[in-house]
């Protein structure tokens, strides 16, 4: 794809803003790592060598206890198995991921399910950030919570922008009665308090659906109530661009409205959109965290930062590591995205290249 020289200059400028650029690199790295999260944070080993046969349990079907000549038919408990291998010492071995815990498994601490402090604070080994109230590894939950939140936000952003940009551009391009009517509709629609709607909907939605389906529904509900703000910017931007000569030229050449909007006007207004993107992500992460905090977000036991924060506020005195880990993780991610956002905004700021006379 041939990039517009102007865009190339903007990207160069973005790279030159170190704070934003490195934040971007770091976030991308995190996203890529989280995509292959099962290889880093999991209670299944990357690889098992048993009786001369190799197994790769990370992805794919469960390997039952019987595979390793254990007396049960459910999934093998690999951490236990590893100890067995070590004790027997007859050539069987396995390679566990760096964090050998599943986000949903309960690990008793001192014989009961209660929060265990991080390993470096004297807690059980392996739990870098400790465990939560039912003994689930906090690092694992934060890690998978991040993965869900970030992909949720990306999908949220894509969908809101798709709707917001389309409707906004159409309003700006057609103007007149259409603009007037749709604007009023949007005003009415955007006055519906989104949070309450989500809460009401989610307390009555039948959850015969699987967890991914429920997450999808939450996404759709959030998108339905969030696309409106984008339309205002796109509408004005389109109004402005529509009055320019190149649009008139395109019309004269016989281009249809869709072609004009998406091929001619949109590329010229994209800088507005781009600068908003990181902040949309921030607000989406915040919203999903807030909903989880209130107990109306992702269904349990889905790992999430909001749910951890909630637990943390209830155990402030007894298990401060829960709230501090969740809080630090959330702040870290939000700061990364905000730094990116600032850099993008600066890089795409037209004032840098324009002088008014």
């Amino acid at each position: 794809m041939a990039l517009n020289p102007l865009t190339i200059r903007k990207l160069k400028r973005f790279r030159s803003i170190k704070r934003g650029y490195y934040s971007f690199v770091l976030l991308m790295l995190l996203i890529v790592v989280s995509l292959f999260g099962e290889m880093f944070v999991n209670n299944r080993p990357l690889m098992v060598s048993y009786e001369g046969k190799w197994h790769f349990p990370t992805y794919g079907a469960n390997l039952t206890g019987e595979t390793f000549d254990l007396d049960y038919t459910y999934e093998a408990d690999y951490r236990e198995l590893r100890e067995k291998f070590q004790n027997e010492d007859n050539g069987n071995w396995m390679l566990m991921p760096p964090v050998p815990f599943d986000p949903n498994e309960n690990n008793p601490y001192e014989g009961v399910f209660k929060p265990a402090p991080p390993s470096w604070m004297g807690g059980p080994s392996g739990h870098w950030l400790g465990t939560d109230t039912t003994g689930r590894d906090i690092f694992a939950r934060l890690f998978y919570g991040f993965r869900i939140a970030i992909f949720f936000s990306l999908a949220f952003m894509a969908l809101t922008y798709l709707i917001g940009i389309t409707v906004g551009c159409l309003m700006g391009y057609y103007g007149g009665i259409f603009d007037l009517v749709v604007q009023r509709l949007i005003e009415v629609w955007s006055n519906i308090p989104f949070l309450y709607i989500v809460i009401i909907l989610f307390s009555v939605i039948p959850s015969t659906f699987s967890i991914p389906a429920r997450i999808g529904m939450l996404l759709i509900v959030m998108v339905l109530f969030s696309w409106t703000s984008m339309t205002y910017y796109m509408r004005t931007a389109t109004y402005r661009e529509k009055a320019r000569d190149y649009t008139a030229a395109a019309v004269v050449l016989g281009a249809g409205p869709i072609r004009i909007i998406f091929n001619h006007i949109l590329p010229n207004t994209i800088s507005t959109v781009v600068t908003f993107m990181p902040f949309t992500i921030v607000s989406a992460i915040t919203a999903i965290t807030a909903l989880d905090f209130l107990g109306f977000g992702l269904p349990p036991p889905t790992p999430s930062m909001g749910e951890l924060l909630k637990q943390g506020t209830q155990t402030l005195t007894t298990a401060p590591w829960i709230v501090s880990s969740a809080f630090a993780a959330l702040v870290f991610i939000l700061i990364l995205v905000t730094f990116i956002g600032e850099a993008v905004r600066e890089a795409f700021d037209p004032k840098k290249f324009t002088t008014y006379q």
Binding site: A61, N62, T64, T134, Q314, T318
Partner: protein
């Protein structure tokens, strides 16, 4: 927000005035006092089969009158009156009415159940049985008698008995009780039905003597007669169709010691109960040592964790510490407040029918309609792990749907324990015999063994996730759905659940009830045809407590016989039989019982030497505590100076069952 409320109120008020101006003029007019009295009288006249007036000479002479005065006194003789107790409620009450819309909230026990004085009350410590049922001690009544052949209870009111506004309590109020609760004005169909069907009539002999007549002589006949309270006829002089709105914030005169006056209501923030210093029964045996604090101030705190912190600060005087986390981690025995004796920890083992915490499986839904799957699910639930690792060994396992009824609880029946092999065996019998790639069982059609579990108990979320993780080992996938309490209850009442995790809160009754939860009349509309075969056109009945949609013709016969029986021995046998059948059916998976109450209380809040009563369900229920005001001052002082008292971690296990 703070300032917008009155404005909003004004607007609403304006809208109301506007609306009322449009058509409903009659409703605004006041109903005069004679009008209600006339209406009540007309009602009595219209139902001569129910309301009778006779003379004292008509009372049978050979009645055996009982007065309960030989029963042991309640509370501690050391108790002193005075002081304020601070406690919390989660929501501000939506009304001060005790009946009608919104009245059945968590505040009602404070002004009704735990406050009023009935004709006589079941003795909470002497829990054995007489030939007439439980032991009762006198309240509003001085004595009572049971006329077995005529299924009638005679009651003589104490002439000294007064409403909290000073008016005497008479048989007028007893008659009015039936008019009131059977009236459509109260908008409470349950009461309408209850007072129409459970009683056959009432007879007045003089101002202080009356009798209640029953259609059946049940062993618990006293709870329906002695255990009830009259309604103040003089207070409801404006009783009409607008009753819910008109009486929304009026505190009705009560037979009990605490009242609420307008100055004690700080809407949305707090509500204070004030002790009636001239309560007529304040020196009577059984009552003199109870109801000690002058004021009970209930502050609204929305969040449990926040309330705990308020307790720790000393803003509220006691706190329910049933959660292991609170008891062991947040306030361990070596915590500063405990070690220095500022806060006492009190664990009290009670002996009551247990709330039925367990899984209710809906037999009209796919998968759980199969008995093998239901039994398999029961084997796949690792309650023991929950009990040992989550409750830290404090809870016990529930064995039947009627635990805690003493002799009425099945003596040998035990609930199924976690067993992967047995679960897999039962699932295999239902066709689920291989594991899918995710370890969950599938049948030949490729269906997964996946069921949905609905609950409104957010605080037991962790219990369910533990069960969920363990069930995977047995190849069962449990999808947990945690809804808002009201939404969850609605779903369950509409019978749209696969499995519900709920508990029925059962009162300390003589024997368990089976009709509500197990009779086919509460499962389907016309479940069976005349000959006892299944009605092919039957429809699931909603809004009943038969959550398993359990319908069994034979079982119905037992319930009907059980509900008619007046022979305790026979009833026991039937109860055991029913529990055995329920075990076979496996639609109710018994969960856990919490055999104790556990509280933290500031040291100035004193409790009797034996802690509480045998059938207590909460710390405050019997109001046995009192405030040691000198100690309160001393403790406040000591918190500044760092002085300490004798630490008190007290366990009352005299009623503990093994």
């Amino acid at each position: 927000m703070k300032n917008s409320r009155p404005v909003l109120g004004l607007l609403c008020g304006a809208a109301l005035i506007f609306l009322s101006g449009c058509g409903k003029k009659e409703a605004v007019e006041t109903v005069s006092s004679t009008q209600t009295a006339d209406e009540a009288q007309a009602f009595y006249d219209a139902h001569p089969e129910f309301f009778h007036t006779k003379t004292m000479a008509d009372i049978p002479a050979d009645l055996k009158w009982d007065n309960g005065n030989d029963l042991p006194d309640l509370g501690s003789p050391d108790a002193t009156k005075g002081g304020t107790v601070n406690y919390w409620v989660q929501d501000f009450p939506r009304t001060l009415r005790i009946v009608g819309p919104d009245s059945n909230g968590s505040f009602r026990p404070w002004i009704l159940d735990n406050n009023v004085m009935s004709y006589a009350s079941r003795h909470p410590n002497v829990t054995g049985l007489t030939e007439d049922g439980f032991h009762y001690y006198p309240g509003l009544a001085t004595e009572w008698a049971l006329d077995r052949p005529n299924k009638t209870v005679y009651i003589r009111l104490n002439p000294k008995a007064r409403w909290s506004d000073g008016e005497p309590i008479t048989t007028d109020d007893v008659f009015f009780n039936f008019f009131f609760y059977r009236s459509s004005y109260i908008k409470a169909p349950w009461y309408n039905n209850f007072y129409s069907t459970k009683y056959l009539g009432v007879t007045r002999f003089d101002d202080h003597t009356f009798a209640l007549h029953f259609p059946e002589l049940r062993p618990d006949i006293y709870s329906l007669s002695l255990g009830t309270v009259p309604v103040p006829a003089h207070f409801y002089s404006e009783f009409g169709d607008d009753f819910p709105e008109r009486y929304q914030w009026r505190f009705a005169p009560t037979t009990g010691p605490y009242t609420v006056s307008e100055k004690d209501i700080d809407k949305g923030r707090s509500i204070t109960l004030r002790r009636n210093q001239d309560w007529w029964a304040k020196d009577n045996k059984f009552w003199r040592n109870l109801y000690n604090p002058d004021r009970i101030r209930l502050v609204v705190i929305r969040d449990n964790a926040k309330a705990f912190e308020a307790f720790r600060k000393g803003d509220i005087d006691f706190f329910d510490m049933r959660l292991a986390e609170d008891w062991y981690d947040k306030l361990p025995d070596d915590a500063d407040e405990i070690a220095k004796g500022y806060i006492q920890k009190i664990k009290f083992y009670n002996d009551i029918p247990r709330p039925t915490y367990g899984l209710w499986m809906n037999e009209s839904r796919p998968l759980v309609d199969n008995r093998d799957i239901r039994a398999g699910i029961q084997y796949a639930l690792n309650w023991d792990l929950v009990i040992t690792k989550f409750s830290r060994g404090d809870w016990g396992r529930m064995n039947t749907s009627a635990d805690g009824y003493g002799d009425f609880t099945h003596p040998t029946l035990k609930a199924r324990t976690f067993s992967i092999d047995k679960a897999l065996d039962r699932f295999a019998r239902a066709g689920f015999n291989k594991r899918g790639p995710d370890g969950i069982l599938v049948n030949d059609k490729g269906e997964r063994l996946s069921v949905q579990l609905t609950t409104g108990y957010e605080h037991y979320k962790d219990v369910l996730t533990i069960l969920q993780e363990e069930a995977i080992k047995a190849g069962l996938d449990i999808r947990i759905e945690i809804l808002d309490r009201t939404a969850s209850w609605k779903k369950v009442q509409e019978k749209k659940h696969d499995i519900a995790f709920v508990a029925f809160n059962v009162g300390p009754e003589l024997f368990p009830r089976y009709w509500e939860t197990n009779h086919s009349a509460n499962a389907y509309d016309k479940a069976f045809l005349e000959d006892g075969s299944v009605n092919p056109d039957r429809k699931v009945k909603v809004q009943t407590n038969n959550l398993q949609i359990f319908a069994d013709h034979e079982f119905d016969q037992i319930i009907d016989a059980y509900d008619r029986s007046d022979d305790l021995e026979e009833m026991k046998k039937m109860a055991y039989k029913m529990e055995e059948l329920l075990y076979e059916d496996a639609s109710f998976a018994p969960g856990f019982v919490i055999p104790f109450m556990r509280h933290g209380a500031w040291n100035w809040l004193k409790v009797p030497a034996d802690g509480n009563v045998k059938i207590a369900t909460s710390f405050e229920e019997y109001r046995m505590f009192w405030v040691d005001q000198d100690l309160k001052k001393a403790t406040k002082e000591a918190r500044k100076t760092g002085d300490s008292f004798e630490p008190a971690v007290r366990v009352f296990d005299q009623y503990k069952l093994d």
